[in-house]
């Protein structure tokens, strides 16, 4: 779920979701037995909670790899495969919440019990989603435990890197050419926890295209490119003025899904980013 999530995240930021009406009560006494998840982050949370009733996931769901690969694919949250979903007779469908995407309305009209939970836009939001998904899937106690252990892991990863000196100034390229994440993006929090400083923290929008000359002028120490289409930074005019290009610190090996998905693997994202930013440098 890469660029499309990202596009929709953009839209989601423009139109802040209001809390959705909760669907017909599913009590802890009768947890849903047939569950479909249409959002990769929700899928990861469901499996992290040890929910066993997941019968289908979205086309974008790829983690945990073995489990998701074996499951039926039910379209995705902006274009769910209603026929497939109906034929699977789910008790509940976990989906996203974007006003511009009519998917949950379509699900409801088809008589499907759809629970809208917006993708988290900060780390605290992941905890909130874990609790909500846990409550709806009859795993409230497991959810509380997961939040507790995850909070500790995030704190440990953050403690390891966030105070590391020197604090590199980082340019993140999400999509070529020059789409980056601003201070209000999910990725910005991860980056700061990993001990990096986002050179475009001042952007008003969470995601935007920026000018090459601004990148050159702000002179990042490290460039992290998560774009599938790679920019050939060294070939662009004035590239040798950028410390990251001069010092060979253009990093393109990080997993975009891990870094941009608000999932229970967030502590691994902080670890991966922190390691890329700091430990590589220490070895040199």
């Amino acid at each position: 779920m890469k660029h499309i999530t990202f596009l929709l995240a953009l839209i989601a930021f423009c139109v802040r979701p209001v809390p959705a009406a909760q669907p017909a009560a599913i009590t802890a006494a009768q947890p849903p037995r047939r569950i479909i998840s249409l959002l990769p982050s929700h899928t990861e949370i469901l499996f992290a909670l040890g929910v066993t009733g997941v019968i289908a996931v979205s086309n974008f769901c790829d983690y945990p790899p073995k489990k998701t690969a074996a499951l039926e694919k039910a379209g995705d949250y902006y274009n769910p495969n209603i026929e497939k979903i109906l034929s699977l007779k789910p008790d509940i469908v976990f989906t996203g919440n974007w006003k511009s995407v009519p998917a949950s309305g379509r699900l409801r009209r088809a008589g499907i019990n759809a629970l809208e939970i917006p993708d988290a836009d900060c780390i605290a939001g992941i905890y909130e989603n874990i609790r909500r998904i846990g409550a709806a899937a009859g795993k409230s106690k497991e959810a509380a435990n997961l939040v507790k252990s995850l909070t500790a892991k995030v704190a440990a990863a953050t403690a390891k890197y966030s105070a590391a000196k020197p604090r590199p100034r980082v340019y993140i390229e999400l999509d070529a050419p020059h789409w980056t994440a601003g201070g209000r993006s999910f990725l910005n929090e991860t980056l700061e926890n990993a001990g990096g400083e986002n050179i475009f923290r001042d952007l008003e929008k969470p995601y935007a295209q920026v000018s090459w000359e601004t990148i050159v002028q702000r002179n990042p120490d490290v460039i992290i490119t998560l774009s599938a289409a790679k920019t050939n930074f060294a070939a662009l005019p004035g590239a040798n003025r950028i410390a990251a290009v001069r010092n060979g610190r253009v990093i393109s090996s990080l997993d975009k899904n891990l870094l941009t998905r608000p999932s229970p693997r967030i502590y691994l994202a902080i670890e991966a980013l922190g390691q890329a930013l700091h430990e590589q440098k220490n070895r040199r």
């Binding site: 890469k2 660029h3 499309i4 990202f6 596009l7 999509d175 070529a176 050419p177 020059h178 789409w179 475009f200 001042d202 952007l203 008003e204 929008k205 935007a208 295209q209 920026v210 000018s211 090459w212 000359e213 601004t214 050159v216 002028q217 774009s227 599938a228 289409a229 790679k230 920019t231 050939n232 930074f233 060294a234 070939a235 662009l236 005019p237 004035g238 003025r241 975009k256």
Partner: protein, 317 residues
């Protein structure tokens, strides 16, 4: 309208393009740039904007003339979809922005799509304008479908291709600028050499043939020139819309329909217009950028309507 001669007006347009180009070097998201940023980054971007705007307007004037259709634009023969497909393939092959292969494939796509439209339209050694328009639509749709297929198979590059298709001027290296400049010079050279024949063609294809114009050779040369010009533009600016459609009409309203002066005027106005819009696109929301293709339409359409109303004459193509 003032009583200036066409030559004087063209002179004014030249000064306008020069002034906009010079001023644009000092407009950008970095408020107090040093000399290196001005020369190495701002200047190439301004040159790319001038070149792309000039190429698009020149190609538009040429296509409107040779197809005798006021709705023709540089992309009418599927050129932009071909370029986008070439760019998409380059991105999939790992040749991203900045790589020479990216520009080469975008230009090749533009050529291939134009040639395909031309060959598809050809029947009995003739290429009627209606056939050309239809084959252009078909080639466009086909390339568009292939791009969507690539989106579906490789979703993670979809967004990068979308940015290219929206049109955004990128900072090109010197080699790319020189390559685009050569394509522009070739295209404009052919276009101007065809001026007289295109003027005769405006009387109608039958008449032009009886007056001794080889209309088939004329079309072939004009499409080749159009593809050269488009290839020059799409490499550095993506598929910017609107400039190639409207700027030639503005030039026609101001300079009259004769192809020679019309296309020179269009080239100068197109260069000034796109450069101005790009300066705005990179500055208004700094450090964020607005896709320049959006601005060209938002600002260009009302201006064109105003000009059309003001001239109060029947529109002559």
């Amino acid at each position: 309208m003032s009583k200036k001669t066409a030559a004087e007006k063209i002179g004014l347009f030249f000064l306008a393009a020069l002034a906009v180009g010079a001023a644009a070097v000092f407009v950008g998201p970095v408020a107090h740039p040093d000399a290196a940023i001005l020369l190495k980054i701002r200047l190439p971007r301004v040159l790319a904007g001038l070149l792309a705007g000039a190429s698009l307007a020149g190609a538009g004037a040429l296509m409107q003339g040779v197809l005798r259709n006021p709705l023709a634009d540089p992309y009418i023969l599927g050129t932009s979809s071909g370029a986008a497909l070439g760019a998409a393939l380059a991105l999939l092959a790992g040749a991203g922005y900045g790589s020479p292969l990216f520009y080469v494939l975008a230009a090749c796509g533009a050529f291939a799509a134009t040639a395909a439209s031309y060959l598809l339209a050809r029947t009995d050694n003739r290429t009627p304008a209606v056939n050309l328009l239809l084959s252009g639509v078909i080639v466009s749709a086909f390339c568009g479908a292939l791009i969507l297929l690539l989106f579906a198979l490789k979703r993670d590059t979809a967004f990068s291709i979308l940015i290219f298709m929206m049109g955004s001027i990128t900072e090109a290296s010197r080699a790319v600028l020189i390559g685009a400049g050569i394509l522009f010079a070739l295209g404009m050279g052919i276009s101007l050499a065809l001026s007289r024949q295109l003027d005769i063609l405006s009387l109608g294809e039958e008449k032009a043939r009886t007056l001794g114009v080889n209309t088939e050779a004329l079309k072939l040369l004009a499409f080749a020139a159009g593809a050269f010009l488009c290839a020059a533009a799409v490499g550095v600016a993506g598929t910017v819309g609107f400039v190639g459609l409207i700027v030639p009409h503005v030039a026609r309203l101001l300079l009259g329909p004769a192809h020679g002066r019309l296309s020179v005027g269009a080239v100068l106005l197109g260069a000034a217009f796109l450069t101005l819009m790009d300066a705005a696109a990179r500055t208004i929301a700094a450090p964020a950028e607005i896709p320049v293709g959006v601005l060209t339409s938002v600002c260009g359409a009302p201006f064109f309507l105003w000009l059309l109303r003001k001239s109060k004459t029947e529109y002559k193509s």
